[in-house]
């Protein structure tokens, strides 16, 4: 089975592509029936069709799809999910077996409808800018923001909030002088207060004394047009405000951090957006250069002698601010996501800025998180621009205010979703009692999403016992994503997949196992749990799951580890698990809470390939002995005469073996007779650039030599097949200084456990 072809067609990868037909069998499969779905996967060859989808009767609302039975004569179709009969609408009267509308054609299992409704409000971009920055940082940030004004569509609405000791909401429509509304940085303003103070929102609109909304703006803005205006209209004003933007002027003592009111600023932004633009697509983009030091959502106190929290502090619950801040930002995240606004965080700081506290704002709303050392870096600039990239037709590559709904046939129930979004609280008969991720619903809201945004959706098989299977019977899953396209129209993408049922013992089932997808789906579960539980528990759970999987699908003789074999469809799954256990997702040692939050954020939203890269980085070797080739992610690959390119998704690292490095230092590559060396040195750089271009956020690009300090990034990822504690089994390579077991030890232990019988 070509999983990638399926993915290209539908944007779906399922852990099992043939489904066990009973609940028990499914449970025994260890990896749940689940799917990674990329709702907006780019499908350039299939442009959207311009009419309303045909839907089933009200409670069901499933969309007509190629798996429906149709009665051409009676102009009827039967909904495969609820089995109701539906009349085709009048304009389908000419339907016939040879004249089918696209949605009934098999190759349109995924189809995008462009609905004839447009969003009344163009997308809104609210920039929330930290001014407690060093001069050069602020300058760079201002430049990026000004540049961004030319990147967003001309009709898009933009607004600006700056914050430091205080929070300033800038009024863009004011002609006479720069004007801003200032809020205390130490206060949590609720929506009502903000509406009252700004004179915006539906409740305020009709009060006497409220400013009269300009007629040119749609009603939805409720008076907010003073603060948020189309770029084409306010570009000059906004540019000049940005240019005049000064560092936060309040004095900072040398033993204190600047007072930074990130929480209050976000509260104002969220309050304003939800008052003025409820359910209209928008992004709140936070640019912060340090941790919040006062007010709600405070991450660390203003005194430098108080260190910022570490994982240790969080585990011990010894940090005074952490819980409170988490709660505060979750509150904001919930509100923003509920009104369809995404929140992005761009952090430019060598230290932590509190992403661990603020992550919910990004994760729940589908925004982006970019972690950089400084706003001066290319990583920030490019990542920011990449967020605002446009497609060929000039529309931003993003969807807004999306709702993803899942329909299943009755044998399947929905356990939950793990990905960037929140529950839309749609209860239906398809909701399973057991929850995985965000459960209790069959619909989720994602305030923003792009072509790579991928969610993991988990199902369970509802059949209690085996029923006589109709041959060819299939379980159907329909994903319907309604979203506001960057162009302003609403669209609905519908993907309907069908997977065959099989008896529990059928060999089709293991053969249909997509181990890559399964690894990603399992890692999502593990990481999701790690957010809530002790990491140790999660690791043990992961181990148990792996052992059980091996027991179930391995080929072995009882109690004979040497006899243990795995079928090809499972063969590399244990390695993924090995690397997952060692990964920064589950090992927080050496990472700050912010970094961990960032890594996990990325894992939750990337597609299968990228996720796999995160879990098990890829390693390419360049040498004179042949064309570049992937090599084992193993210390043996570190040879003196090769160049390695490591891609961990977050980093792209070029490593020069000792010999190569010496040659380079000696300048051989500059001599014409050693042009081959020059070529060898250039090849990985070119390839690395290719990787850099595609990725969001832009990875960190590292070039290092063997034994150089930066080489630690590589070494830490390698399987320590040669460590100080073990003899060099294969010869060559470099010892890795670690106590971790290496893959072979892991696998042998695994096979030992797997063959032991009941565990």
């Amino acid at each position: 089975m070509d999983f990638e072809a399926i993915e290209d067609q539908d944007g779906v990868r399922c852990s099992w592509n043939v489904l066990p037909n009973t609940r028990i069998e499914a449970t025994r499969g260890v990896v749940p029936v689940s799917a990674l779905y990329t709702p907006l996967k780019e499908r350039p060859e299939q442009p959207p069709i311009r009419y309303e989808p045909v839907m089933c009767k009200v409670p069901c609302r499933a969309v007509l799809n190629p798996y429906c039975q149709i009665d051409v004569r009676g102009k009827l179709w039967i909904c495969p999910f609820c089995l109701q009969r539906n009349q085709f609408p009048p304009h389908y009267k000419d339907i016939s077996a040879h004249n089918l509308p696209p949605e009934l054609l098999p190759r349109f299992t995924t189809i995008e409808y462009e609905l004839p409704r447009r969003s009344p409000v163009p997308p809104v971009f609210m920039f929330v800018v930290d001014t407690c920055l060093p001069e050069d940082e602020l300058k760079a940030l201002k430049d990026s923001l000004i540049l961004a004004l030319s990147l967003v569509p001309a009709n898009a609405l933009v607004g600006l909030i700056t914050f430091g000791t205080m929070v300033q909401l800038h009024e863009l429509g004011h002609q006479d002088c720069p004007k801003s509304y200032v809020f205390r940085g130490t206060k949590d303003y609720n929506v009502k207060q903000i509406q009252e103070m700004l004179g915006i929102g539906s409740s305020i609109r009709n009060q006497p004394g409220a400013p009269q909304a300009a007629q040119s703006m749609p009603q939805q803005t409720y008076g907010a047009d003073r603060f948020v205006q189309p770029v084409e209209q306010c570009e000059f004003t906004l540019t000049s405000i940005l240019e005049q933007l000064q560092r936060d002027p309040w004095p900072v003592a040398s033993d204190r951090r600047p007072l930074r009111s990130t929480g209050a600023a976000m509260a104002v932004a969220v309050g304003m957006m939800e008052s003025a633009f409820p359910n209209a697509g928008g992004r709140i983009m936070l640019f912060c250069g340090g941790p919040a030091t006062q007010g709600p959502g405070m991450v660390v106190g203003p005194e430098l002698k108080e260190p910022i929290r570490s994982h240790h502090d969080i585990d011990k619950e010894s940090d005074r601010h952490y819980r409170k801040a988490i709660k505060f930002y979750e509150g904001l995240a919930r509100r923003a996501a509920a009104s369809g606004h995404a929140m992005d965080i761009f952090s430019g700081c060598l230290d932590q800025v509190g992403l661990a506290e603020m992550k919910s704002m990004v994760n729940w709303s589908g925004g982006s998180m970019v972690l950089t050392d400084s706003f001066v870096t290319a990583i920030f600039k490019q990542s920011f621009q990449r967020v605002l990239e446009k497609d060929e037709s000039g529309n931003l590559q993003m969807g807004f205010n999306a709702t993803l709904e899942v329909q299943t046939t009755k044998e399947l129930k929905v356990c939950g979703m793990i990905g960037p979004g929140i529950s839309a609280n749609k209860k239906s008969a398809m909701v399973s009692d057991s929850e995985i991720g965000i459960g209790g619903t069959t619909a989720w809201r994602m305030a923003a999403l792009n072509s790579r945004t991928t969610v993991g959706i988990y199902f369970e098989v509802a059949n209690q016992q085996s029923q006589a299977l109709q041959p060819g019977s299939r379980g159907l899953i329909q994903f319907a994503t309604m979203y506001q396209h960057a162009g302003g129209d609403y669209r609905m993408r519908v993907t309907t997949i069908a997977r065959s049922w099989a008896e529990g013992a059928s060999p089709d089932i293991p053969a249909s196992f997509d181990q890559e997808a399964a690894a990603v789906l399992m890692s999502r579960i593990a990481v999701y749990r790690a957010e809530q539980e002790e990491v140790g528990d999660v690791l043990r759970w992961l181990d148990r799951m792996l052992i059980r999987l091996c027991q179930k699908f391995g080929d072995y003789r009882r109690d004979d580890p040497a006899s243990f074999r795995l079928a090809p469809s499972f063969s590399i799954y244990p390695q993924f698990m090995y690397h997952l256990r060692r990964s920064q997702f589950l090992q927080v040692f050496n990472s700050s809470p912010d970094e961990t939050a960032f890594y996990r954020h990325c894992l939750f939203r990337e597609d299968t390939t990228n996720s796999l890269t995160m879990i098990q980085p890829s390693l390419m070797s360049y040498g004179f002995e042949g064309p570049p080739a992937p090599v084992l992610l193993d210390s043996v690959s570190m040879k003196p005469d090769v160049i390695l390119v490591l891609d961990t998704f977050f980093h792209i690292l070029i490593w020069h073996g000792e010999t190569i490095a010496e040659w380079r230092k000696a300048g051989y590559h500059e001599q014409p007779e050693y042009e081959n060396l020059k070529l060898l040195l250039e090849a990985p750089v070119v390839d690395a650039q290719g990787l850099l271009v595609e990725r969001m956020p832009v990875p960190r690009y590292i070039v290092c030599d063997q034994n150089g300090s930066q080489a630690r990034f590589l070494v830490s990822k390698l399987n320590p097949s040669t460590s100080y504690s073990s003899a060099n089994q294969y010869g060559g390579g470099e010892a890795v200084l670690t106590d971790d077991v290496n893959v072979s030890t892991f696998l042998s232990a695994l096979s030992g456990l797997a063959v032991k019988g009941a565990s």
Partner: protein
Amino acid sequence: MGAPPPPPGSAPGAQRPPMHPGQRGPPPPPPPPPPSGGPRPPPGFPMQGASPQYMPAPQPHHPQQFQQPSQQQPQHPGAQGSMMRPPQPPTASPQNRGLPPMPPQQMSQPQQQHLPPQPQQNPHDGMAALSNQMGGMSIGHPPPQPGMASPPPTSQQKLRARRVYPTANSPTAAAPPAGGAMPGVSGYPPAAGTQAPGYPGASATGYAPSAGPQTFVPGAQAPAPVSAAGAGYARGPGVPGSPPGVAQQQQQQAQPAPYEPPRPRIDPTQMPTPISVHTHDQEIHNEKPYSTALKTNIPMASTNFTAIDDGNCNPRFVRLTMYSVPHTAELLRASHMPLGMVVQPLADLAPTEEPVKLIDFGEEGPIRCLRCKTYINPYMVFINGGKHFVCNICRHENTVPDDYFCNLDMAGRRLDCEMRPELRNGTVEFVATKDFIAREPVPASFVFAIDVTWNAVQNGMVSQAAAAIKDALYGGPGLPPGARVAIITYDRSAHFYSLSPLLDQAQMMVVPDIHDMFVPINDGFDADPIESRHVIEGLLDALPTMFAQNRTAEPVLGAVVQAAHEALRSRGGKLLLFQTALPTFGPGSLKQRDDPKLHNTDKERTLYEPQDSFYHDWAVKLVEEGISCNLYTFPSAYMDLATLSQLSTVTSGELYSYPGFDAGRDGKRFAADLRADVQRTYGTNAVLRIRTSDGLRVDEHYGNLYMRNHVDVELAGVSSDTAIGALLQYDEKLDEKQDVYFQAALLYTTSDGQRRIRVHNLAVPCTTLIGSMFRNSEIDASMNLIAKMAVAEAQTTPLKAIRDKLSDRCVQILTAYRRNCASGSSPGQLILPEAYKLSPLYTLSLLKSPALRGGADVPIDQRTFHMYLLRQLSVPKSVRYFYPTVAPLHTLGESEGVVDESTGIVSLPELSRASYAMLNPAGAYFLSGDGSLVFWLGRQVPPQFLQEALGASSLEQVDVKQHALPELDTALSRKIRTIADQLVGNRAGFAYVQIIRQGMDQAEVQFASKLIEDRNNDNMTYVDYVCAVHRQIQVEVRPKGPAEPKWSYN
């Protein structure tokens, strides 16, 4: 009201009391019952035939009739005449008057009536009046004429002090002032007559409606009429009630007129007036500078003088109520005069006077007495060859610091005396050392906070304020050096502006969270007005348009105060608030609590109390930070100044009020006020301490100030106009051989951030003689202090009680004089101490001031405002407040209305008295009192005058809507404009003028109410009042006889 003025003819018929018109009418028949009088007031009145005059005067009757000045007069006289003799208080001697009262509303009629009667009656009336008045005069009455020493008390002192008004009309007053006045009188009568015609008509229409109920006088009379002629006010027995309303109305209008012509004797022109007194004093000081070494006989506050500081401070700084201090409390008590002072520590000096010397004693600071901390001054005595000095205040012997040592000369004076200003001058300024600095002094910030709600935009305040601020900052000398400027605007939120000179234009920051106020700017909140001129000017220019569409109401005053407090914390400065409405939103929001039902009742005073403590509490906080708050109000409705004004009173700030603000009408005045406010000398964070010789101490301080303890007066801001009253009290007997010493020390930060101590010293002789107390008393300071004391009671005492107390005090002082210094004089004569002869007039003026007058028609806010004024007024200003300046313009001579190049002073024409009867219908006058200026045009003013002054060919063509005098290229126009500027306080080009044509413009009612000598404002005429006072004095002085009814007037 009812019937407008029937023609004159009717009047006569009306004589009967019952008839409304009758009021007037009656008078003519006048001479009713002289008889009854006999018994009563034997003392004063009976004495002289003339005596009766007084009686009438006191009684309301006159006033009523008077309303129409000239006309009535005749009538009265007649009536009075008859009455006169009998002058018995109880019985209504003034039957005549009694008559008038009856018809409550016939304002108009009276007038008419009067007219006719006048001519006819005049003869008698005049006679009668004369007699009456005369009687009064002679007896006790009125105007003591300076010269008349008739009752010659004892010593020369007494002679000088008192003035007796001769019984006879004798025009020749002994005293110069009186004399002057007299002649004038004769001239007037005719004028009055002429005026009458025009006036009545006008008044009839205009007044009738407005006439409020006037309780006292009229009422009394009304009933009385028939009964006894003699009933004085005092009696007021049944009176009070009924008819008053009518009577008064009429009275007000007519008052002035009636008197003059008819009674020669009581001729009001003989009454002592400030005009003659001031003129006299001015003449004395015109030529020669005043040396303060004299210690006494200081120039009056109204006088333009040049003082040479020879040990005592310039009277501009400190003015005592008496320059001979009694040696015991008993003596003081016997005189009933207040002993105290009014200190105006930063008063402006005349250009001809030497500026205050600044002395830097280096790190050690100024030399002070160890025990009482008195600063070194010329009255410290050096002894022991200069090794020690004796403190003049506490007599402690201090050692002279080595570096300050100097040998003494033969007379015991230090050899370096001439070199050291602190040993020569009464006023010096020391550089403050660290001990006096609680926090680093910095230049003051002027924060302009402008209400920009719909209301403020609509009435033009915002644009006016912006323009005025701009003008104040850049239109002239600008702010005091070093001062900084900040601007706030506010509606339902507060708007701050960053004025940093680095910006191209101001940045506006709105703080909508007014319940939790803060200042959103750190740097650039205030800026140097010169450095940031482009920013500030740009902002001020833009303000009106920025808020032109502002629809919000409810300015958040409280939040702005909080913000200013935070912004100026630990720096000090001046907060200028421009507020248009009652703050009903945000912190410090107030309720609308004005209730007309409370007006004119004992409960009215609850409206003078703040309704909550918010503003007081914050004002105290402002004081702690050295922030004074000037509140400019532009109310279109009640805005509870009583509560809001706390901001000004506690922080020693100013309060300005422009009710029903109209940019066209009030704009210039507002701009001028603001400019003067901003540009005058100013200091922050001040503490005033008054030290006195042992045996005396300051009992109470009066003014707009805050006191944490009993001795230190904390002034958040102190300007050249800040005046503090202090009432002294005895701890023990003073040594009469020693001078009594005073030292007022003001520690303050100048507007450019220098910490200074200004010290004013004063030594005055001590006396054991009450006569010398009277001789050396100072009426201006006394009345100023008395007014401050009266207002201070307003929150705890009903106004009526305060008014009674004021009158009582006046009577008591004069009685004391009479008892102690003029006991030999005839009881029928009114004998006034020379220095205090204006006290009845000033007391009357105080009774009529909107702060204290009765009646329900004074808006509460206006009352509060005037109370504030009285608390705050400096002595020179209070003199003008008590008696308006009326300058005739139709008789300008060559030298009048011209600026004297050397002194910059404008020579004014000889002023007229503030009485309608004194105005010539063929003339034109300026009237200036409380900063406003009225241009009154008589009915018969010559067209040529109109043409030259206003460019109008006839009275009808005069544009009364214009608020500025047209700048015509005629000598007259120029002179008039020069005079106008002078009258409103030398604010060149800012005079706002209201033009009123006699008998044509409604506004004449208000004009008339400013004529203090007439019956108006719920009180009697000057003449009547003097009569009343006189009668009471007689009662007091008379040996305890048979149960004499105790007098109470009012």
